[in-house]
Symmetry: C2
């Protein structure tokens, strides 16, 4: 039994239909007497990332990271050191060529609103560890232009509470993100206490390289798997092989994932609706999402009405403790 009398597990949620739906769902799932009881091994909850667990405006956080990465050109710097002694003129040409490619990638991303240009340019030939390390460093430094807080602090407090409530009742929480595998891995542990194994993202192809006896996983500029739409279901099936009983999303790319969870009549499926221009952002759900929500009877979370707090309290007034961002 959830003890809601003495200890509200969802203090950032307004009392109402949605809060009650979450509590009822957990209650009927963990109660062995309930017709909707689910054994712990099958208590799988899946969460989209951008816009569902943390903010995604004005731009996707990983895109901000990639743009900064390209502007600083760390790969170019790295190559320079290696090649400096060997080839002065060749190096100049390569450097120029790389600068040109960086600009093209940034331009194409702007024109086509397509992140693939940036991803390929930033990831080609970079080791997986290097990419994660850059991401971790950037996340500890960069701040959101409007809120002036680290991105890792701009996670949704009410969703953290849902995850904690689930964990406390033997659910396993998975992040299923359209962002890259490696970026979501840099975030999942510090922000959500989720191990890399439970963070599923989009993938570039990787290769195993032998550097004088040392094996290293490197990224290749070939898209391998886009974790969006049907891809989210295929990734979950491939990774877990258990149909989730709870699913949270906020765009049309999450509809199939919620439909997959809805195979079970005991499932909890919710869409986050960004309705709070003042405390976060306000933007519409697509017609496709609204139609699906209606057709399948999913819950719509109204950020403005349902959430008492949006983001966690800063750890100290006027001062962010960088080590305890979330």
């Amino acid at each position: 039994m959830i003890d809601t009398q003495n200890n509200d597990p969802l203090p950032s949620w307004q009392d109402g239909q949605n809060k009650q739906a979450i509590l009822d769902f957990v209650q009927r799932t963990i109660d062995p007497q309930s017709a909707f009881y689910v054994p712990p091994a099958n208590r799988i909850a899946v969460f989209d990332h951008d816009g569902t667990l943390w903010l995604e405006k004005p731009h996707l956080t990983e895109m901000e990271f990639l743009k900064d990465l390209l502007k600083r050109q760390p790969r170019s710097t790295r190559c320079d050191t290696e090649q400096l002694q060997n080839n002065g003129v060749g190096l100049m040409v390569k450097r120029r060529f790389r600068q040109l490619r960086c600009r093209i990638a940034l331009l194409m991303q702007t024109i086509m609103a397509d992140s693939r240009w940036l991803l390929r340019e930033c990831m080609e030939g970079v080791s997986a560890d290097q990419y994660k390390s850059w991401a971790a460093t950037w996340l500890s430094e960069a701040k959101h232009p409007r809120f002036n807080r680290h991105y890792t602090e701009l996670v949704y407090q009410p969703m953290l509470e849902v995850m904690q409530l689930f964990s406390a009742h033997d659910f396993r929480n998975y992040i299923v993100s359209g962002g890259s595998n490696y970026f979501v891995r840099a975030v999942c542990e510090p922000c959500y206490q989720i191990p890399a194994e439970q963070a599923i993202g989009s993938q570039l192809l990787t290769k195993l390289v032998d550097h004088q006896g040392q094996l290293q996983v490197e990224l290749r500029p070939l898209p391998w798997f886009l974790d969006n739409g049907a891809g989210k279901v295929l990734a979950i099936e491939n990774r877990i092989d258990i149909i989730p009983i709870a699913a949270f999303g906020n765009t049309s790319g999450d509809i199939k994932m919620l439909r997959w969870a809805s195979i079970s009549p005991r499932a909890l499926c919710m869409f986050v609706h960004h309705t709070d221009a003042e405390r976060e952002y306000q933007y519409s759900l697509s017609d496709k999402v609204l139609a699906a929500v209606k057709q399948y009877g999913w819950q719509l979370i109204d950020m403005k009405k349902d959430w008492i707090h949006i983001f966690p309290e800063p750890t100290a007034p006027n001062k962010v403790d960088e080590n305890k961002a979330c």
Copy 2:
């Protein structure tokens, strides 16, 4: 501390260097005072499947399954029922064509010793659930030609004990198999108490199909990922993102996986050498494996000398309990 005085955790292992190496490894890994202590979250052990956890002779078990599947042509039967009313002559042609394809697949597999022909022929357009269900049924019926026991009973008892010892000390065991994802999933839970999530196999491409509102994952005849050689490392990195500290294999396709684990000086890496023609099979390790074992100082398990028992005892004399195969 492992209590070996009162309770031998490896009763099917002969006392000696290899048994001691396993016990020492677990001891130094779990002892917080040890320089080689590893926290539970990082205690990852990876096991090749065929020839490492269960027998692989005279033929790989999944290949036996696929050949039986093709001979029985369950897909053809399934299609017939659907199409019977519509098209008598067309059905005949399709049936013949399918029979011909089946024969070609079997022939190509024999000539080229290449399983891909069989895999594609058997898996095209089949739902993932259907494939797993066929595999589970076949495993409960088929028997090994020499030992006249179910294949699920022909797992190596000493390796089961290693897995149990690891599990008892907060390791997570993963099967990393060149066989298909779905076949290894049909085996991992009943034989090794490993959930599907911890079984990594080769993959065909999948697609999400909407059957009148019902979503279903179907297999496509396109090879997607071969979980062998470097592929094993890339799969582990992609799935777990933690370098294993224990790795077991028996062919050259496992060398890179053991090298990956060997990045850590605290790792335990072992190759199974099939030396027992009487109780199992006798066949050589490749020169590549022998060279790697020597170069990296890995342990070689001599099946004949090291293992007191090879397979688990049958559950009742002269009678196999089909529900408790392993």
